[in-house]
Subunit: 501 residues, 2 copies
């Protein structure tokens, strides 16, 4: 679907809408409604099952979202977490530099100095998008963090965290003490990150506050053993820097072992890139031909990232590939900065080895962006129907439960729905309008199954009664004993996990 | 346990610790470790199952945590969400007025004007807690919200939400449109709230950022039907205003129907008070003799609250009753303020009735405070053992899985643990040190069950193998077929839900 059509549908169905709508809404702030909230929770659970499930030494924590100033000074965010900003000297409107130069330089302004960007503005005679004046300032750095003053006197300045990663780095020493003193050690966080975007745009893709799911794996650079055989033969849709420089935009499928053997990438990196790709394809169900593993060049990636591939999906609603996550090999930058900043040596001494400062592999994942991608890639027309073909374990509603005729079968259908809810399943009773319309509502809500209670169900009696079970995608209908519903539905919503290593 | 002992244990076990510990920590900011994070998720799920489970017309949403200034102006927070603050004119330290007067006025300063508080300071010759000077200022109001400037120019001022309730009020119109146009309509939110406390103290009880779970029920004041018979005979431990004024501190048990018949409280209010109390007692497992439903007087409660009982628990670690939640009958204050502030009439027109502005019943619940209460009330000594007697569905780990001898039974035990994890159960494999020490670790982590794999398990073969299942509280051990583990554990962790109405 096109952007406007998709957003209108999501809004109408109560998946999401602009925040403070009755006050006119605020760009860059959205509310998740009942379906969006349930989908977000399930997406977070699926992410946790998959990524924290990669090792028993990976753990999910929930650190504070406020970072003291000393932390962001050490991490470099105070100095470097900036976007170049251009001000119109005529109307005083402010813009991100990349939005102004994007027509003449679609790749953005990563790696350019303010003076170089200024030169591009002049050379191309670019004008203020607001008033048309050519009097644009030379770009100045604008820090994207939100400061907050804690306490009465405001002596204690903190920042809303610009990424969840810092909480994991701060917790590393404590987690080492609590754990079994071995590397690799993984610390995962699902939490809010906050960025004072100069001009938020593209619903769920550039927000002032957004949810990240990130896994930081701390490892010994002398050896990070992974079960590489599990992924060796997997063809990965990569777009590497050399092909990008030749103007290519489409990925080519290269086997994981090839990326190691002749592609110059370490096994541990390719293994995690492949597991991330599998999560997108196999768990979230994104079509392989919509995915791209986009390698970032030296100038594009942050200086502390040694290797970076962004995981992108081609989204019709946004007209191209969009970044949904990434795998960053960050070296020991983070722990060395916080060792220095805090004065506490964060080296560790694994049993039987020399002390060392662990390196970090970061798997990062944008929860809100994936909510949009799950809509773009799975919600659409199937003939006359509008169907949200979510994988069953992600669907906000697992099963709609209907009485064929409300006054005759309503009480029993309610009982069936209630029992499924007590079994921990997301069952939703619906008796409004016709069965056809109920199916249509459930299709739009992504419910993979519907159950209809009828006269036969009642005649057979509560112990042996059967109901009609209808599958969303095939529209097949079969007669199923009520007592078999819970186990069958439970099997359908079981979260996929990586194979045992 | 005493405060220090309990906090040290929680920190050592990785349940929670001061945020940015390596930088010396920050008062009022905490991180949840693996056990704390899992417990918090389960507590949130239990809350949702119970309270959102009260009606199919109650829904969980996730609104933005940033509120535009127009919203907090309309809600009254800009003007009134303040604490009186006293500054020392000698050393310039600032304090909450109630912390300075608490020795002479333990009930706090609710309802007093700044001038009256100033009078108390003078009359009692109170001094600066920091430098001892008597030169204390007359109190001035200090707004507890954190402002944030959105965008480059800072034209758009927003606030971190001081309570999750506002998000529900803002979403009401949209939820009405999406829903089936009937009252009561419930909107629940689990989210962060932010308060610039003048001096945060008491771990998890006064935080700069904390998690609230709140249910706002919008209803027709002409009739809010509830299944009162379910709670009529329930004795509730109330401490009403009249008995408080006689100096009583202990609650007395009064039956719900009595509170309606001769206590002057409406049925809908008492029903929800009773369901909240049952959640604390039956779902969270707090002992009835530690709970108190504490009625707030006219001057203590916010002026828009018509009825307010705080739900309190007596916590040894904090030396008395502490508020963990509340039930507020807020009238139509919120919707009328936002109708005025937004210019959008928030009256609704339920099918077959006159248009009306719904009233609001608010059920509010402090997630972090309950995490502390679940520690205080359930974690302690049982003879020689330290045991966290959490209800099974709340426990961060459901089952520890051990090999009797690692080299002989390790592989099979790992397989058993892995299969339970795939079934969605929180199983944790452990082969470190002796079986006794593994039991002790699981007891401290609150795991209700442990399973040991031994030679017999292997000899019997994978299809029919049995294992030893040990229960945390009774310490009873029984031999159980492996294939029965998942269904038994699943039944134990099934979330309690309110009875069908």
């Amino acid at each position: 679907m096109k952007y406007d059509e998709l957003f209108a549908l999501l809004r109408r169905r109560g998946v999401l809408w602009p925040s403070a709508e009755i006050y006119g809404g605020v760009q860059g702030l959205y509310d998740y409604g009942p379906l969006g909230t349930a989908l977000k929770r399930r997406l977070e659970e699926a992410w946790t099952a998959w990524f924290v499930g990669l090792s028993p030494d990976y753990h999910l924590i929930q650190p504070s979202e406020f970072l003291p100033e000393a932390v962001v000074r050490a991490s470099g965010h105070l100095e470097n977490f900036t976007d170049p900003e251009v001000t119109c000297e005529s109307c005083h409107a402010a813009f991100r530099a990349d939005t102004i130069v994007e027509k003449v330089r679609p790749d953005g302004v990563d790696g350019l100095t303010p003076a170089q960007i200024g030169e591009i503005l002049r050379a191309n005679q670019l004008k203020c998008p607001n008033c048309g004046s050519p009097a644009l300032s030379v770009p100045t750095p604008f820090n994207l963090m939100f400061p907050v003053e804690l306490g009465v006197t405001g002596h204690e300045r903190a920042y809303l965290q610009p990424e969840t990663a810092q909480g994991s780095y701060l917790a590393f020493a404590r987690m080492w003490d609590v754990g079994r003193h071995a590397l690799p050690l993984g610390i995962a966080v699902i939490g809010k990150a906050y960025r004072n975007e100069i001009a938020p745009r593209q619903v769920l893709f550039r927000l002032w506050a957004f949810t990240q799911a990130e896994l930081q794996i701390f490892f010994d650079p002398a050896g990070f053993p992974v079960p590489f055989a599990q992924v060796a033969a997997e063809p990965l849709p990569v777009l590497r820097v050399d092909r990008r420089q030749q103007g290519e935009e489409a990925p080519e499928f290269v086997r994981a072992e090839e990326l190691v053997r002749s592609g110059g990438l370490p096994e541990f990196y390719v293994y995690h890139l492949a597991q991330s790709y599998r999560f997108y394809r196999d768990v979230l169900g994104y079509p392989a031909d919509r995915l791209r593993l986009f390698e970032k060049s030296d100038v594009e990636r942050a200086f502390y990232n040694r290797i970076q591939f962004d995981l992108e999906a081609h989204l019709e609603s946004l007209g191209g590939y969009k970044e949904l996550g990434a795998v960053h090999y960050r070296g020991n930058y983070d722990l060395s900065r916080h060792s220095e900043g805090s004065g506490k040596d964060l080296s560790v001494h694994p049993t039987g080895r020399e002390p060392l400062l662990p390196h970090v592999l970061e798997l990062t994942f944008g929860v809100d962006r994936h909510l949009w991608a799950l809509s773009d890639l799975h919600l659409g027309k199937d003939g006359e129907r509008t169907v949200w073909k979510l994988p069953p374990y992600l669907a906000p509603v697992t099963v709609g439960v209907f009485p064929l005729i409300e006054k005759d079968h309503g009480a029993y259908a309610l009982e069936v729905a209630d029992e499924l809810v007590r079994e921990g399943l997301a069952a939703r009773y619906d008796d409004a309008s016709s069965i056809g319309k109920r199916y249509a509502r459930m299709d739009e809500a992504g419910a993979p199954y519907c159950v209809t209670v009828d006269g036969e169900s009642l005649a057979e009696g509560p112990a042996k009664g059967t109901v009609t079970l209808r599958a969303r995608d095939s529209r097949s209908q079969e007669r199923v004993p009520v007592r078999e519903l819970a186990p069958r539905l439970r099997a359908a919503v079981r979260l996929p996990r990586p194979p045992r290593s």
